[in-house]
Symmetry: D3
């Protein structure tokens, strides 16, 4: 029988949505205000869910302190107080939409967590807009 444990975290970043191969008109039509060339920003809120079996010895699915450390090292240190377009290599070629940020976070956590665990990433770009990605 499986259970899922969630941990919340957050980071703040600037970004801009646009494609350099499109002209201004098309970028404005598709991305609107998010295409401000001077950037805007968000407080991103993150929830990471880990699914697996409870360890009968400890009663833990995962030591949440360990999960907290991984989230800090892989996500917060990498994205907090950054300009996503300029400071994060992955977003030099793809757009830092909340969908793509969620997928990036999932991939980074997947590399650090045991294969037995399923992972879900919930990323709030604002309190009203969010994305959920679980790698499936």
């Amino acid at each position: 029988m499986s259970i899922t444990v969630y941990r919340k975290s957050h980071f703040n970043a600037a970004h801009r949505l646009y494609r350099p191969d499109w002209d201004d008109q098309k970028n404005n039509d598709v991305f609107g205000k998010c295409n401000n060339p001077n950037f805007h920003g968000h407080n991103y809120a993150l929830e990471v869910g880990i699914t697996g079996e409870v360890d009968p010895e400890t009663g833990y699915l995962i030591d949440i302190k360990k999960l907290k450390t991984i989230m800090k090292e892989e996500v917060e240190d990498y994205l907090d107080h950054k300009n996503l377009n300029l400071d994060v290599p992955e977003f030099k070629v793809i757009n830092p939409t909340m969908e793509n940020i969620a997928i990036l976070i999932w991939n980074k956590l997947r590399d650090k967590l045991e294969d037995d665990f399923k992972i879900s990433v919930t990323l709030y770009e604002t309190p009203r807009n969010y994305a959920v990605y679980n790698g499936e």
Copy 2:
């Protein structure tokens, strides 16, 4: 690989739960305070989830401005500041419970969104009570 994007919205409405073919005693037994013949009301909070593939060109699953517009036209304009029993045709014959309101919203959004998208509707009647419907 699929992802889900959520958008939150809200509307305020009055309603009453009862069946006209039941007598007062039975309506009170089943619906309690919700059977006040003068109506009561709620701030309904809505979360719509759309599941599908990310467009590699934009990095969007769906343009959230488009989703926001559909939610406004299909849900907010139809239900906000209304008496659900008296002003909304569907609830002249069925009870405006949170379950039935969630199903109505899902059906209205299903008609306006592309078939490739799966839809989920989360409807909070109060901050403590809510329903989730995904058409399955």
Copy 3:
């Protein structure tokens, strides 16, 4: 030295904003959607603050169970699942705006709480709109 203790509560109600001595055009100009003659409704969230001296014997400003009971009897039982215009005598002559509801609640609590206590009433009509009244 004084301290303030707060307790939260909530109730759901229907209402309509209008003046019977105004014609439809003027009521719509001033009250807009809130003038729907079939009513609409809200989940009202209430925070009551009591200011005074801490009792050195118990460490309490006020027994919060006692405050909870007064709030239930004076506010929830009086307003919950009601039509404010039709079911609450005070709102047959004045408009049930959030300002007037907050003042009504303050007056009802003032009658039941000891004179030494200062009272503040915070009333959320929606999560985005609220009023604060402290009788001064």
Copy 4:
């Protein structure tokens, strides 16, 4: 077609995480601050989800007042203002982690709810850490 209805509740309790068959060093290594022998505590927030078919006669999946009563009798009365290690028999032999508390709540509700309903239990130990269990 199925729908899920959620109800929120809460309780406050003290607990300690440790294994009596481990020495202090190992308990501190694994459980850290949660191993304080004098206990610490939490405001646990609970969300119970019930999945099934809507009753066409009432428009209810379940009468939420009935669910509220079951949650009070099975969970709140059993766990609220308790020391989980000392006052709750099940946690004399297993650790009261949020995972094990969620499983205990699920088992207690499973006994009281009709077999047709699927049940999910979401238990927040803090606003940042929570577990979800659905018996599968």
Copy 5:
């Protein structure tokens, strides 16, 4: 007798904290991560409070639709999806700290609201850090 009415709003922006007349070392010492030359960003949440007398004719302190429009035109249109340092003239000479942004918003609202009203501005830079300014 006076009452206060609050309205919430929000905007998203990028910013950087630094003084051009200081060297990098001093800027980093004082502003830390907030001195990223590529900017970072926030979802700012705003609460505007208006204090005055209730109009006995309407039961309103202020028509909240009017307040909503002023907040949109003076604050959201001016700051939303902007780079505060580059796009907002006032922040070319002073630092866009949450304190200074709150004061700017208060000054802009003061110009548009009647003199009888007292104004308070609550500005959340993150869900954990906020400033309150009331012009006194």
Copy 6:
């Protein structure tokens, strides 16, 4: 002109409300479930407000990193994951009610912050009950 800056924090603790010089009957009458001799617990949420003048050089009232550090060292390290009655000297003689905890926190912060700053302490014992103390 003054401004107030707020910072949120949190800690988890166990406690019991009772007076050793009262018999069980009287302790139960006054403190009810909070008198469980095995203790219960809470996630306490803390908001510290600092009022003063903005430094024109930095645009800061106070460096929030400095405030965060003081709150960690004075409050979190002192109260987190503790049994307030057994582990905190001040509560061996007075009851750890939310009123008394707020006053203790205020006194500890007052010693560490500059005299020019006014301090307010908001302490949530639960999401529904809280106290505010500002030393006046």
